[in-house]
């Protein structure tokens, strides 16, 4: 009997903890069009994915801060990232960035995701490019 009570209690508590931690750490994905339409939350982390617009990549004088545009078929969003970009990051290729959007519409990325394959296109990107 003792086992069942202790077991049920701990199961309930752990389930509650798991679900609350889970809820807090869901990172949603948005397309540039959605971000431009202000569908993405400000002040919360999310991911944005699209193609790195050709000719948009610029570096600041410090050599570390990069500015580029992530675009889908309709819109493009300016992104700022400080740090070393992954090997497979190139203009014209797919890219996913994680960070927050500022009130001025600029996306400040903490992380630019490198995928392990040069032919890889984030499925979301492929979908947005196809016009969804």
């Amino acid at each position: 009997m003792g086992f069942i009570v202790v077991g049920l209690c701990s199961l309930g508590v752990s389930a509650a903890l798991v679900l609350s931690a889970f809820n807090k750490n869901l990172v949603f994905f948005f397309t540039p069009s959605q971000v431009a339409a202000k569908e993405a939350p400000t002040g919360r982390y999310f991911r944005i994915g699209g193609l790195v617009q050709k000719g948009s990549l610029k570096r600041d004088a410090d050599g570390l801060t990069s500015r580029f545009m992530i675009a889908d078929a309709a819109k493009s969003i300016p992104v700022v990232y400080k740090g070393i970009l992954p090997d497979l990051f190139k203009e014209g290729r797919g890219c996913v960035a994680e960070g927050k959007v500022a009130p001025d519409g600029v996306f400040y990325a903490d992380q630019v995701l490198a995928k392990h394959d040069e032919n890889y296109m984030p499925p979301e990107v492929a979908q947005t490019l196809a016009g969804k």
Binding site: G2, F3, V6, G7, S10, S14, L17, V18, A21, F22, K24, N25, L26, V27, F28, F29, Y45, R47, R59, D62, G63, L64, K82, G83, I84, L85, D87, L88, A114, K115, H116, D117, E118, Y120, P123, E124, A126
Partner: protein, 645 residues
């Protein structure tokens, strides 16, 4: 010609596997010895034919036969021989063939080392393993044939992903699969016992060494993968909670629970139903892991849509294996019974609690890995689950688990007394708590999480020492090898926790732009950048930086991180330079050229105690090896060992 021989061998292997499934099972049910006896030769023959097929594919890769689609898309003539060999299992098709080969290998091992088991048991086990093999061979032949020919072969092949051109990646998949597939033996034993209706201490004793060996390989495979990610990806991370990693971690968590649960079932006859369920879960998660990684569903759930045949086959196969075994379990579990009784305070209940904690951890990882897939399939948007989720859960679950890990081995079976335990362990508790609080001050500043982690690590080590000391003092004589194996594996966990705690607490990282002659300081070291020169490799061209490490005005050594561009694919790859040490790693990766003055961006990491993570895993593996090689397993049964304390 070889491709055709390979494919033909696979078909023959499939036919033999069908015989291996049917005849022994029918024989075991009807008590026909001659039918049961078919299992052993059939299992061996099946292994030989799969091995021939695998040999053919490997040979095609080594000899650059680009008329075979799989070779043409995953290898090229510039690739060094050992990587061409590794490319054999670099693709979806090849890795499934490797899986099947390793299943054959485990089947062969069962036929060789089960002479002392009842004939019905062996027959049923081989039949269950054969049916898994049938599933994989069908999958290979129907949807993922590695031997398809091209009508117009290219003059040279594509490329093996440069990231995979690495010694650790040559070993990682076979090790991991040895683990995954090894659980098929414990699974087959559990299913056979359910079918036969007899789950006793013998069943647990037969399953234990197989499970421990498989677990040892899985531990090694995961550690290798983590080590590879650390030095190859150039981000300095060693675990990312990436779905691919989670896929291998879930079976590990469940099989760790299984190892402990099996021990209780063997020694005390308790937890029977739970043990069977864990054996089913460990293998089911291994299957799920294989398919999650290999079907491409993680990169996109639409991979299923582009090749519906594969997707439907996988879902059906998983459904049959998992659903079927759970149905069998539901039907038979009543007869199995729960087994022996024990008190709320006893070694059994400590082990049960840790089992539940491990299961909760595995379930949380499963939730975090599959939820995004479900949401996407349902068309409800796209999301991912951030690492903080997993970290929070793991700290919460592992703190009590690690505490109990110290208590369990010293507690009595069946009925222990809390006051007595408290007296025996009070000094261990005080010592680990005090040392845990003091040490961070000495390392580099106090942090609550570091104290907690170190206290737990020390607690595990000190209680292990107490347990050993008590046993020797009480004149219990030399302990069995499995006891030392267990304690060594537990100390490995402690070393791993210490490593994780210290590197997470005190690591430092800088991304900097460096002109020639520039110096950057991190973790008490000066890093001096002397510029980048061009170097040609076997199949790539590299920019190699020279960076001097200076400590207290004295030069320690020179490091050479590289940026490579591979000839075949034109892909860039960052090759890190790491100076490893017992207490810290210095880790450099090269970014890109910046501006006109031959300046580069450089990432500098200071990683204290990071190698303890893999050292812990190695200790766990040695512990597993010791436990599995214990004399009572290696010797044929007959002389039954007395029940120990």
């Amino acid at each position: 010609m070889l491709a055709e021989i390979g494919q033909f061998s696979l078909i023959v292997a499939l036919l033999i596997a069908v015989i291996q499934v049917t005849l022994p099972m029918i024989g075991a049910t009807r008590g026909k010895r001659s039918w049961m006896a078919v299992g052993i030769p059939a299992g061996r023959a099946q292994f030989i034919f799969v091995a021939v097929a695998f040999g053919c594919l490997a040979y095609l890769f080594v000899t650059n036969d680009f008329s075979v689609l799989n070779v043409a898309s995953n290898s090229n003539s510039q690739l060094p021989v050992h990587y061409r060999l590794a490319a054999t299992w670099g693709s979806h098709e090849g890795s499934l063939l490797l899986w099947t080969l390793i299943l054959g290998f485990w089947t062969l091992a069962v036929t060789l080392f089960s002479g002392h088991l009842p004939k019905e048991m062996v027959a049923r086990v081989l039949s269950v393993m054969g049916s898994i093999s049938v599933g994989f061979l069908l999958f290979l032949l129907l949807t993922s044939n590695p031997f398809i020919r091209l009508s117009s072969p290219p003059s040279d092949g594509g490329d093996l992903n440069p990231l995979l051109q690495d010694p650790a990646m040559v070993l990682h998949p076979p090790m991991l699969y040895m683990g995954y597939v090894g659980f098929s033996v414990a699974f087959a034993f559990a299913i056979s016992a359910l079918i036969g209706g007899r789950l006793d201490a013998n069943w647990a004793r037969w399953s234990r060494p197989w499970t421990t060996v498989a677990w040892t390989f899985l531990t090694g495979g995961i550690a290798l993968g983590s080590f590879w990610a650390y030095y190859e990806l150039g981000w300095g991370g060693w675990w990312f909670w990436d779905p691919v990693e989670n896929a291998s971690f879930m079976p590990w968590l469940v099989s760790t629970a299984l190892i402990h649960s099996l021990a209780v079932t063997e020694k005390r006859g308790a937890f029977k139903s739970w043990t069977v369920l864990l054996a089913i879960a460990a293998f089911s998660l291994s299957l799920l892991g294989t398919f999650l990684v290999r079907s491409g569903v993680l990169t996109s759930v639409h991979a299923f849509a582009t090749d519906p045949k594969r997707g439907i086959f996988i879902l059906c196969f998983l459904g049959i294996v998992i659903g079927g075994s759970l149905l069998l379990y539901a039907w038979r579990a009543k007869q199995v019974g729960l087994g022996g009784n024990f008190d709320l305070v006893s070694r059994e209940s400590f082990l049960l609690t840790n089992n539940v904690l491990l299961a909760v951890a595995a379930a949380s990882v499963l939730l975090g890995t599959l939820y995004p897939l479900f949401i996407e399939v349902l068309g409800m948007g796209k999301l991912s689950v951030g690492p903080p989720y997993f970290n929070t859960i793991f700290v919460a679950v592992m703190v009590p688990a690690m505490f109990l890990l110290g208590v369990g081995p010293t507690a009595r079976w069946k009925k222990a007394s809390l006051p007595e335990l408290a007296v025996r362990l009070r000094w261990a508790f005080a010592a680990s708590a005090i040392a845990g609080i003091v040490i961070p001050f000495l390392v580099s500043g106090w942090k609550p999480r570091v104290s907690l982690g170190l206290s737990l690590a020390l607690w595990i080590v000190i209680t292990a020492a107490v347990s050993l000391w008590e046993r020797l003092k009480n004149g219990m004589g030399p302990q069995p090898r499995s006891y030392y194996g267990m304690q060594l594996a537990h100390v490995g966990v402690a070393v791993l926790i210490a490593g994780i705690t210290l590197v997470t607490g005190y690591q430092a990282e800088k991304d900097v732009r460096m002109d020639i002659g520039d110096t950057v300081n991190l973790g008490g070291y000066d890093f001096r950048f002397n510029g980048v020169t061009e170097v040609a490799g076997a199949n790539y061209l590299a920019g190699r930086a020279e960076i001097e490490i200076i400590r207290n005005g004295r030069m320690v050594r020179t490091m050479y991180p590289e940026k490579r561009v591979y000839n075949a694919s034109g892909n860039a790859l960052t090759e890190t330079a790491i100076d490893s040490g017992l207490f810290r790693d210095l880790y450099l990766s090269l970014g890109e050229p910046v501006g006109q003055n031959r300046a580069w961006s450089v990432r500098v990491h200071y990683k204290p105690f990071v190698d303890w993570i893999w050292a812990g895993a190695v200790l766990m593996m040695i512990g597993g090896g010791l436990a599995a090689s214990g004399r009572r397993y290696v010797k044929p049964a007959g002389k039954q060992r007395k029940v120990e304390s």
